[in-house]
């Protein structure tokens, strides 16, 4: 009951006119930044952190948390509308969101994304409210072996993404992981795979360069060839009736929404994991659990719902270790943590005792930010649909320019823009030969998390792989991962035995 009382006190603070205005402005700014290719919540929070010095710490954290939430909603917009993931957290949304937009169902995809984000956000805030301290302690049990096992599980869940051509899917995963290894070796600090000492490779290959190349340039070249260059991208329409119908049709996706929410939240609270692995795992799990896995990647609404619920849930989950232990679960929460320290507060277990008003106002504002983001998103859908109905010869150059600028902005290096073009052109040629490209994007995101975890684990065990099977949590995750990896072989073996 004490929790309920504290939460109501938090609402009283969050609904003060100034704080409510900060929530609305924060959500709108976050939504816009999240929808821009190349910019995500981390950019929005980092850029606007100095602005928060003008308001008290409670107002400041409410504003930044609203930007964080808004950006999570916004990431889905560019994924669905343009096929370009605005941030790594929205990569999985592209797989089915984009095909739905091309089929003229952009409104359905956008409503599904907004609703799933709302459900994911709400469930995760409830979990946050009820179980914050014990969950934070559980997350600390995760060491390098557990993190690597979790990464392997993430790969296992999407190994089936590429359809039946297993060697091409595996090739795509391996090449993505190798690209993720380009740059400085994390342990020795030596340059690695810098291809003839090209300085641009020293900072590694940003995942957005590959993602924009594949989902922006490659997708556009593919669309131009398929549609003879003169077609509309989408024939979507929007009315109140279609909105209600879309929401109603989402009832059948409730399982994916709930699964994504819980999975995203628990992956989100793990240090060094965050929303990206959470959304990818949710997508893979939704596909594995689906009765029609073949429709994934071709416009299955569950493929939008599961990752969107997961990435919003994970964004809340990532705040948990930040507040309770002072450990950020994602790059954005790292900046939020910096803000908390600058405002003169000390993150950690004592925060919940010493700064109750601050913590509970933040939690209450997450409920409000969730609701405001949903309303803003749905209100803006007709505008997004209008953009999609522009002639292709207007939309295509705008998307190409967004790709170029989006490829440049993360690192401010033209080297990355050239690299993006190369990835786009080679990706287009590979796509024509049925190479699945999604696993490469997923691998470049997860590779930099998986490698240090593997190397640290082997260092801990003196090179013994058995470390992954002797620790209880790691061994359970590893066994699930191995079973999932072998699952695609089951129908083949069954067919052979019958044959």
């Amino acid at each position: 009951m004490e929790v309920i009382q504290l939460l109501f006190d938090g609402f009283a603070v969050a609904f003060q006119p100034v704080n409510l205005a900060l929530i609305i402005i924060g959500c709108a700014v976050g939504l816009f930044i999240g929808a821009m290719p190349g910019l995500g919540s981390v950019n929005g929070v980092a850029i606007l952190l100095p602005v928060t010095f003008l308001v008290p710490p409670t107002g400041a954290i409410i504003f930044l948390a609203a930007i964080y939430y808004g950006a999570m909603y916004g990431g889905a917009i560019s994924s669905i509308m343009l096929g370009i993931p605005g941030a790594s957290t929205a990569v999985a949304t592209t797989f089915d969101g984009r095909p739905l937009a091309l089929q003229g169902k952009a409104d359905k995809a956008l409503i599904a994304a907004a609703t799933a984000s709302f459900v994911g956000g709400t469930i995760s805030v409830i979990l946050f409210t009820l179980f914050a301290p014990p969950l934070a302690e559980f997350a600390l049990v995760f060491g390098a072996p557990e993190i690597f096992a979790l990464m392997l599980l993430a790969f296992a869940t999407f190994v089936g993404l590429g359809g039946d051509d297993i060697p091409k899917t595996l090739f795509s995963i391996f090449i993505g992981l190798v690209f993720g290894a380009v740059g400085l070796d994390i342990i020795s600090g030596q340059p690695r795979l810098i291809f003839g000492d090209v300085i641009g490779f020293m900072h590694g290959i940003n995942f957005l360069v590959l993602a924009i190349g594949i989902y922006g340039i490659c997708e556009m070249l593919w669309t131009i060839e398929s549609n003879k260059g003169d077609a509309m991208i989408s024939q979507a329409t929007m009315s109140f009736r279609s909105l209600v119908d879309s929401v109603r049709s989402l009832i059948s996706s409730w399982k994916s929404m709930i699964m994504g929410s819980f999975l995203g939240f628990f992956v989100g609270i793990l240090p060094a994991a965050g929303a990206t692995p959470g959304s990818l795992m949710a997508y893979g799990t939704a596909k594995q659990l689906s009765k029609s896995p073949d429709t994934f990647g071709k416009g299955n609404i569950d493929g939008v719902v599961a990752p969107e619920a997961a990435n919003n849930a994970a964004s809340t989950g990532a705040m948990l270790p930040m507040l309770t232990l002072g450990i950020p679960g994602s790059p954005t929460t790292a900046i939020l943590l910096g803000g908390i320290v600058i405002w003169g507060l000390e993150p950690g277990p004592m925060l919940f005792i010493d700064q109750q008003e601050f913590v509970w106002a933040l939690i209450a504002s997450l409920y409000a930010a969730n609701f405001v983001s949903l309303l803003l998103n749905i209100a803006l859908i007709p505008g997004f649909i209008w953009i999609l109905k522009l002639p292709f010869t207007i939309l295509a150059p705008i998307i190409f320019i967004l790709c170029i600028v989006g490829g440049f902005v993360p690192t401010l290096d033209m080297h990355d823009v050239w690299l993006m073009l190369i990835f786009g052109v080679v990706g287009y040629l590979m796509r024509k030969l049925d190479y699945p490209l999604a696993p490469a994007v997923l691998a470049i995101v997860l590779g930099p998390l998986a490698e240090p975890a593997l190397r640290q684990s082997l260092l801990m065990s003196g090179g013994e792989i058995s470390i992954f099977f002797t620790r209880p949590i790691a061994s359970v995750i590893m066994i699930i991962a191995i079973v999932l990896l072998l699952l695609p072989l089951y129908p083949v073996i069954k067919r052979r035995l019958r044959g």
């Binding site: 595996l170 690695r192 556009m220 150059p397 190409f400 320019i401 287009y428 593997l454």
Partner: protein, 165 residues
């Protein structure tokens, strides 16, 4: 299509060998006190790429994959023309970023695409060619403080910076 499948597998196989060679510039075995060497992870992943290319080659030989069975051309003449026009225009535009900067290259690309490829009116073309760089400047440079490349046009922006900042 069949020939393209083989060519891609061979090219990617060679690329895998190159990656293995480059990875081996760092230790790929066990380094005392450091655990697996810096080349360990990319070397074995590249080896995995090579194995996949050989596997794809075997499937090509026994005609197991759809492209290896296909008799269609990899790209017909129309596809080649569209690909060359779009990829070529993008290459030139990105090249122009170095010379005349983003705010010179973006209008030129829009004029080429909207007027000459899309056959839209000069009014619409002009509107997009002017508004797009203005909005880009306001959003990225003014609001987000992210400076886009300006090439030799950098001095032209100094009066604007003096007004805006």
């Amino acid at each position: 299509m069949r020939r393209a499948e083989l060519v891609m597998a061979v090219v990617m196989g060679v690329f895998s060998l190159y990656l293995m060679w480059k990875s081996a510039e760092l230790p790929i075995g066990w380094a005392e006190g450091e655990g697996p060497g810096g080349g360990f992870w990319p070397f074995w992943l590249s080896a995995g790429m090579l194995v996949c290319c050989i596997w794809i080659g075997i499937r090509w030989a026994i005609r197991a994959s759809p492209p290896s069975r296909s008799e269609e051309p990899f790209m017909d003449r129309r596809a080649v023309k569209l690909f060359a026009l779009n990829a070529g225009a993008l290459t030139v535009t990105i090249g122009l970023f170095h010379v005349i900067g983003a705010y010179g290259a973006i209008p030129l690309f829009l004029i080429f695409y909207l007027r000459f490829l899309g056959r839209h009116s000069w009014t619409l073309t002009g509107l997009f060619a002017v508004l797009t760089p203005v909005v880009t400047f306001l959003f990225f440079e003014v609001a987000l403080l992210k400076s886009l490349p300006k090439g030799y046009t950098e001095p032209l922006f100094e009066p604007i910076y003096a007004i805006v900042f």
